[in-house]
């Protein structure tokens, strides 16, 4: 299928026509191309999420690779990295290949599996990282996300080991001894609500340790869902020293604060927890400065019964794929170069996903892109989401930006704001 995107604004530049043919950006229009009136629409390279939970295998009642892929496409994504905390855990070549194959079958985004660092996410024994790397899934990011690789020796070995295949360890930074029973950010609000606190230092201490380890062994480190101002300072110093560390922040940590826990509605329970206004400000600045490299959703679908309960019994996590771009737009405004870098180009580089985050002004670039209407607004209705779950913290919020179309290697996955399959 060939397309002609008429009058599109690439990254906010003045309107031009964009030709798509044979899966790439084409220099010239092709005979018979479908014409899409893209007046007023902004073209971005397809978004790339380095942190998604698709729940399959194991919790298909919360999400499947297919429903999560559809949510991703509708959110403007062309690639997502699927976290390893499935059941069974993605700690073998077999499981990562299964997820990869399910992603291909769904055909809505590139689903790139992440492999577990340790067997069963138990933090004891290194998983067969090499087997996952050389599998059909071609795994490059390894993470025990949900759990921290807390053992410093094991973390050091993992950082070293993956150098052989240019892998990266994505750390869920949470010192487990400091967060036993933790329910929300430790501070004024947790004290008032009588909920066990999750202190900022539990994140910062692990990041500080890990950047030193990465520096010591000369390896790449990626830090998942940075949530505190203190973590930003640790990262800033490490990057200034030349440590090979990258970091992500979630849309919810860029917008929401711990005050939302006041009604004990677990839709606001997430790990790491929502922090304070000053943390939010520091994270925004860090993303602008590039101290934090990417926005990652940490899309975490949960079944209704896992959220419609007491706060302490609820599972942590919130949906993110379908609202990430509108949230970022609402926070930063139409800074298209920034958005393209932090949500597509940098994440594609970190994940090693060639073909994503490409230059749309250059012929031959794989046609992975999304069209956004920045003038449109949308009120978030959980019932309308494509995800199988409903645990969005943004219900009822009116957000800017509507994803009109998404293309994966030149094929439309979303048209007129609707998934094509």
């Amino acid at each position: 299928m060939a397309y002609l995107l008429k009058g599109v604004s690439i990254l906010g530049a003045s309107p031009s026509d964009l030709y798509i043919a044979d899966g790439v950006v084409s220099e010239k229009p092709v005979e018979g191309a479908e014409v899409i009136d893209a007046t007023g629409l902004v073209a971005l390279p397809g978004l790339v999420d380095v942190h998604t939970h698709l729940r399959e295998p194991g919790r298909e009642d919360a999400e499947t690779v297919e429903t999560g892929s559809r949510a991703a496409a509708l959110g403007g994504y062309t690639a997502v990295c699927a976290m390893a905390n499935t059941s069974p855990v993605a700690d073998t070549a077999g499981v990562v290949e299964q997820v990869w194959r399910l992603g291909r079958e769904a055909g809505l985004v590139d689903v790139q599996p992440i492999g577990a660092v340790t067997v069963g996410l138990a933090g004891k024994q290194m998983a067969e990282l090499g087997a996952m790397a050389t599998s059909a899934a071609n795994v490059r990011i390894f993470s025990d996300d949900g759990f921290c690789v807390a053992d410093p020796k094991l973390m050091r070995r993992a950082l070293e080991y993956v150098k052989a295949f240019d892998g990266v360890i994505a750390q869920h930074a949470e010192e487990p001894r400091l967060t036993e029973g933790a329910q929300m950010h430790e501070g004024e609000v947790s004290t008032r609500l009588g909920l066990t606190g999750w202190p900022a230092v539990a994140e910062e201490a692990i990041i500080a340790r890990d950047v030193l380890l990465a520096e010591h062994v000369g390896s790449r480190l990626h830090v998942c869902h940075v949530s505190t101002a203190g973590s930003v300072e640790v990262l800033r110093q490490a990057k200034a020293r030349g440590v090979r560390v990258t970091a992500e922040v979630t849309p919810h940590h860029l917008l929401l604060t711990d005050e939302l826990a006041a009604g004990y509605d677990p839709v606001f329970k997430v790990n790491p927890p929502l922090r304070t206004r000053s943390d939010v400000e520091a994270l925004r600045q860090a993303l602008l400065d590039g101290v934090i490299d990417v926005v990652a959703t940490d899309h975490a679908p949960h079944a209704v019964q896992d959220k419609e309960c007491e706060w302490a019994h609820a599972r942590p996590g919130m949906l993110g794929l379908e609202t990430a771009l509108p949230i970022v737009l609402s926070v930063f405004g139409p800074q298209w170069d920034l958005i393209a870098d932090r949500m597509s180009i940098a994440p594609a580089r970190i994940a090693g996903l060639d073909g994503h985050g490409g230059d749309l002004t250059r012929a031959g670039t794989p046609a992975n892109l999304t069209l956004v209407d920045p003038a449109a607004q949308r009120t978030v209705d959980p019932a309308e989401l494509a995800s199988r779950s409903r645990n969005t913290p943004y219900a009822g919020m009116t957000l800017p930006g509507r994803i009109v179309a998404t293309f994966l290697r030149g094929e439309a996955t979303v048209l007129d704001g609707k998934a094509v399959k």
Binding site: E188, L195, C309, E310, A312
Partner: protein, 306 residues
Amino acid sequence: MIKHLRSAADLDAATATLILDTAAEMAALSGREVKKLPALRGRTVVNLFYEDSTRTRISFEAAAKRLSADVINFSAKGSSVSKGESLKDTALTLQAMGADAVVIRHSASGAPHRLSNWVDGSVVNAGDGTHEHPTQALLDAYTMRSRLGRLDGLKVAVVGDVLHSRVARSNVLLLSTLGAEVTLVGPPTLIPVDIVAALSKTARVSYDLDSVLPDSDVVMMLRVQTERMQDSYFPSAREYSRRYGLDVTRMRKLPEHAIVMHPGPMNRGMEIAPEVADSPRSTIVEQVANGVSVRMAVLYLLLGGK
């Protein structure tokens, strides 16, 4: 009148005072031969207790029965999620039975807030996790007022495991609302650093019990669970007792009129010496008796009794 009593913060000074005044009227009733009022005849009060607490459950049960309400005791021990029916399903069941008020005791902070989303009746918090226990604070305030004649300007020391204490949280909120000056005393490990900012700008914190006692009208000792020791909040029961326990020697530092309170159950010999607990200054038994009157007042007012 408010609909629910989920937190002591739900009460402004006027409402809290109305409850205390109503409790005094209810107390007068208990001197009569016939202790029953017809106020809540035909209304249903459910005691939904997810934690063992004979003392609080009996107190609420007696309160509801003296107001002629129909009382249903629903004991749901153990976590609602791990062992069977969810809180929501239980709530829907109570709703179908037409509960006018649900009194809930639960190990999870905020459970009364969740419950109030799912039932039409009033929700009364009878203790939720490490959050609050507002009727305990009301009965404590009632006891202070009846012993000392006032609450405004009263100096109250709350001593012990403030971090894990729902009694402390509710007391700080309510007493501050009613003009008392609260000082929280305990080891720094058991007093959250932001407790003042979180609960009351007029509260103070001290780590030195001996310096606080001479200037206190009320000293309220909190139960300290020995398992906190295993979690390194303090080194040993003996050291805790030595630094923060109220023994006879320390009690002598209190002004002549000062009273000693404890929400129970006590660890005699740990946070409070037996001689102190049984002394004339102690209001511990009175607190229990006042509990019924205060809970009658709460149910009466929340349910709009006439």
